[in-house]
């Protein structure tokens, strides 16, 4: 057996890879990280320009479990957590050139001008009855139409899903995207009854985590401050501009062939590998070591998205921007944006005094070619709706265009079975793990949770002298690490 250069190599320094590497490092494990790009963070990167804090990818993290809180705690010295302003509770929908507040409770829903009278009556009916007729996997559109009616699905649901997945509700799987909602849908007749019971449960006690960071958060230096801080603590263990091109199973471990920046190729040996890459890249690297896993991932589509960070003078926007922002339903086909966040209303520190920062989302399933459009074209597409809905006059003072081709994996029907196939295939390959936003949720919190769980499994397996998820007897002869 060759001597391994590193015990574990994490491939990819996005939030998933960083979180896993950090947890492994904390446990005293000899871990290395190879990142193909110049910078760490993957999509979670922030740029500071002219007093603005420009998030390149995700803008806010909805803290939902202890894994992300633990990460924030570990870096509390370097990164100050910022909670979202209360105003973020106000959300709007773009409806025929105007903004309508999204009702936040069932009663308000019945009086909303977002839906016609017929639509509201249908909604009222659906709130009381109609479990799923059969047990087969449903699209979000099917479930929403049955529960809430066609109109509500087209309007409220399509907009909300564009805001999260940039996807198509007629293809996305309810159970894969929202497992808890799917459970409720399958078990509950009346949504109103469920809502009341849930409210009582919430009053009685929390969800088990410390709850210091409820709701949405960001950091004083943006999410990029967190990813940079993790990268900095990993120090020389993290190598950027090292794009892994091949992964091979060699001598009871793994060989990586990677390319250094503009320089030559090199190889590295490790006992274990954690792949933390976008789905397409992960599939490509698995081809040699785990062809079944590569094939399972090969069928997963990803939506492209464009984020425009637009800085305006305060006086150039008529609307008070008293909320989180607005989303655009799919039945507004003449509006080419998916949504607009009023960034500094949620996190005031992202814009300098006297200025406002709007984040416009384009692309997704509605406009797959958006990433190929020129900056000028993208700006023109955004300006129409901004003028109409927010009374924006003049041009932005600052324009930052972030194109993300094939960035958001789409959990279409059949996704869960693909992931099950992947995980079964990976389980047969001792020492290999795969993490990322295509497994069990696309949010930053989901990625961190999956990464931390993976790291814990590796630590546990190592403690027992085995590799994760493979039969013990098979592994012992190859793996006997000094403790």
């Amino acid at each position: 057996m060759v001597s391994a250069d590193r015990e574990i190599v994490v491939v990819g320094a996005g939030i998933s890879g960083l979180a896993a590497a950090w947890r492994l490092r904390q446990a005293g494990i000899d871990v290395g990280v190879l990142e193909g790009g110049e910078k760490v963070g993957g999509y979670a990167r922030t740029e500071r320009r002219a007093g603005f804090l420009l998030e390149k990818g995700p803008f806010n993290v909805l803290v939902r479990d202890a894994s992300f809180e633990a990460l924030l705690d570990d870096f509390a010295g370097e990164v100050q957590v910022v909670a979202a302003d209360k105003a973020a509770g106000n959300r709007y929908l773009y409806r025929r050139g105007e903004l309508c507040r999204v009702p936040t409770n069932p009663l308000a829903m019945l009086t909303t001008s977002l839906l016609s009278v017929g639509g509201r009556l249908r909604l009222l009916g659906g709130l009381f009855v109609s479990k799923a007729a059969d047990q087969s996997e449903q699209t979000i559109e099917q479930a929403a139409s049955r529960r809430l009616g066609r109109e509500a699905a087209d309007t409220l649901v399509s907009a909300a899903i564009a805001g999260i997945y940039a996807g198509d509700i007629s293809k996305l799987s309810l159970s894969a995207c929202f497992p808890k909602v799917a459970e409720v849908d399958a078990e509950t007749r009346s949504l109103i009854g469920y809502g009341l019971r849930a409210a009582v449960r919430r009053k009685k006690g929390g969800s088990g985590r410390s709850g210091r960071w409820r709701g949405m958060v960001n950091c004083d230096g943006g999410l990029g401050a967190l990813t940079s801080a993790i990268g900095a603590r990993l120090g020389e263990r993290l190598m950027t501009e090292c794009r892994v091109e091949e992964l091979h199973s060699v001598d009871g471990g793994y060989a990586l062939v990677y390319r250094r920046g503009r320089g030559g190729r090199d190889s590295l040996y490790a006992r274990r590998i954690v792949l933390a890459l976008p789905v397409e890249a992960a599939s490509g690297l698995l081809e040699d070591v785990c062809p079944d896993g590569a094939e399972a991932l090969g069928g997963i589509e990803s939506a492209s998205a464009v984020v425009l960070n637009l800085g305006y003078r305060r006086e150039d926007i008529e609307h008070p921007l008293n909320g989180f922002g607005f989303l655009v339903p799919r039945n507004e086909p003449e509006v080419p944006v998916m949504g607009v966040l009023w960034a500094d209303s949620t996190f005031p520190h992202v814009a300098p005094a006297g200025y406002r920062l709007l984040r416009v989302f384009l692309g997704g399933a509605r406009d797959p070619d958006a990433v190929k459009r020129s900056d000028g074209e993208l700006l023109r597409m955004a300006e129409g709706p901004l003028r109409k809905a927010l009374g924006v006059i003049g041009s932005p003072m600052l324009v930052d265009v972030c194109r993300h081709p094939a960035a958001i994996p789409q959990y279409h029907c059949g996704h869960a079975s693909k992931i099950a196939r992947l995980e079964a295939a990976i389980g047969r390959q001792p020492g290999l793990s795969v993490i990322g936003n295509f497994l069990h949720g696309i949010s930053v919190n989901d990625c961190v949770r999956v990464a931390m769980q993976c790291a814990e499994r590796v630590i546990e397996a190592r403690r027992h002298g085995t590799v994760p998820s493979a039969p013990v007897a098979e592994c012992c002869e190859h793996y006997a690490f000094p403790q």
């Binding site: 091949e246 091979h248 199973s249 060699v250 001598d251 060989a255 990586l256 062939v257 320089g263 030559g264 190729r265 090199d266 190889s267 040996y269 040699d288 070591v289």
Partner: protein
């Protein structure tokens, strides 16, 4: 530019493939699909030619001398005495070495015209050394020497048998489509000038003269520095080691032959990236940029870091492009 033993242990992909197929080396040679897959691995690092993945000892097996690799070559049934060589017999290459023909077809299919393919065979003297020693002759060649001296006639008939086979074997490869061939006299450094002239050169000359003229023929004589002597074999290209001063050889013989070589393979194994860069650039300069195939003095060593192998290719490409653009401007 290509490197002798470019598909081998230095490449992690090769090692992974070997583990995956779980076959002894000699079985991999006999499996055309696997051998073809191995052959084309170096394409991805940017070499200019692919060489058929085989061993020079492959054709000896059907002749009655089966080698296994453990990991160095070892005769399954060593020859007890010179008289034993009578048990070797001539072969029908199409029947007995069909897998090499098939391998070539598969490689050409996979390459789809992107790179040329080289065939090869061992020089008869080199094969005789291996047969006599029953493995790598590094331990000594007393047996062969006494055989050569004491039973000249029997030794000559062994060489004739090997020469005939080699002609058929290279023709087989050419018939299946290789674009050039190389004759490996890998033990040429053990021969005195007299021995080379008496045994090695006549065999080489016979082989090379019996091959179609349109196929370029490369002669590799390890560790030999007498260019004129090697040229007498009739080769189109001489593959020379660092014992030959490439610059003066190219000046003297450049109109008669092309040269291949002669990067120090030890330096590629142990040198720093900067040392490799310097050596590659020097070698390209010495070759004069024309009629020169960049290669090593000898095959890649097993423990050569993969990054060094890739570095040779990358630097050579960059440096040649630089030379070309300078020539255009100048």
């Amino acid at each position: 530019m290509w490197m002798m033993r470019q598909a081998g242990r230095t490449d992690p992909a090769y090692r992974a493939l070997r583990e995956r197929v779980e076959l002894p080396l000699e079985e991999m040679f006999r499996n055309p699909e696997i051998a073809a897959e191995v052959s084309i691995l170096p394409e991805r690092i940017g070499v200019d030619a692919i060489i058929v993945f085989q061993d020079i000892l492959t054709p000896l097996e059907p002749m009655g001398a089966a080698f296994e690799f453990a990991p160095g070559p070892r005769l399954r049934r060593p020859f007890g005495s010179a008289a034993d060589f009578r048990r070797l017999h001539s072969i029908d290459v199409e029947r007995d070495l069909w897998f090499v023909g098939r391998e070539i077809e598969l490689i050409l299919e996979k390459l789809d015209g992107r790179l040329p393919l080289l065939g090869f065979a061992g020089g008869p003297m080199t094969l005789a050394f291996f047969l006599m020693a029953g493995g790598s002759p590094s331990l000594g060649d007393q047996g062969l020497r006494s055989f050569m001296r004491e039973d000249r006639e029997a030794f000559q008939s062994l060489l004739d048998l090997l020469t005939g086979m080699t002609i058929d074997y290279l023709r087989l490869q050419i018939d299946h489509g290789v674009h050039a061939v190389q004759l490996f006299e890998s033990l040429a450094d053990r021969l005195t000038d007299e021995e080379y002239d008496a045994f090695a050169r006549p065999c080489q000359a016979r082989i090379l003269s019996q091959l179609p003229t349109h196929v370029p023929k490369i002669l590799f004589c390890k560790g030999r520095s007498n260019v004129g002597q090697m040229l007498a074999s009739g080769a189109d290209v001489l593959s020379v080691g660092e014992c030959v001063d490439l610059r003066s050889a190219a000046e003297q013989y450049g109109d008669q032959t092309a040269f291949q070589g002669n990067l120090d393979h030890h330096l590629v194994a142990t040198g720093s990236l900067e040392e490799i860069d310097e050596a590659v650039e020097k070698c390209i300069d010495a070759g004069g940029g024309r009629g020169h195939i960049l290669n090593l003095s000898h095959g890649l060593m097993q423990h050569t870091p993969f990054c060094n192998v890739c570095r040779v290719v990358d630097v050579a490409r960059r440096y040649c492009a630089k030379r070309e653009s300078e020539a255009r401007i100048g």
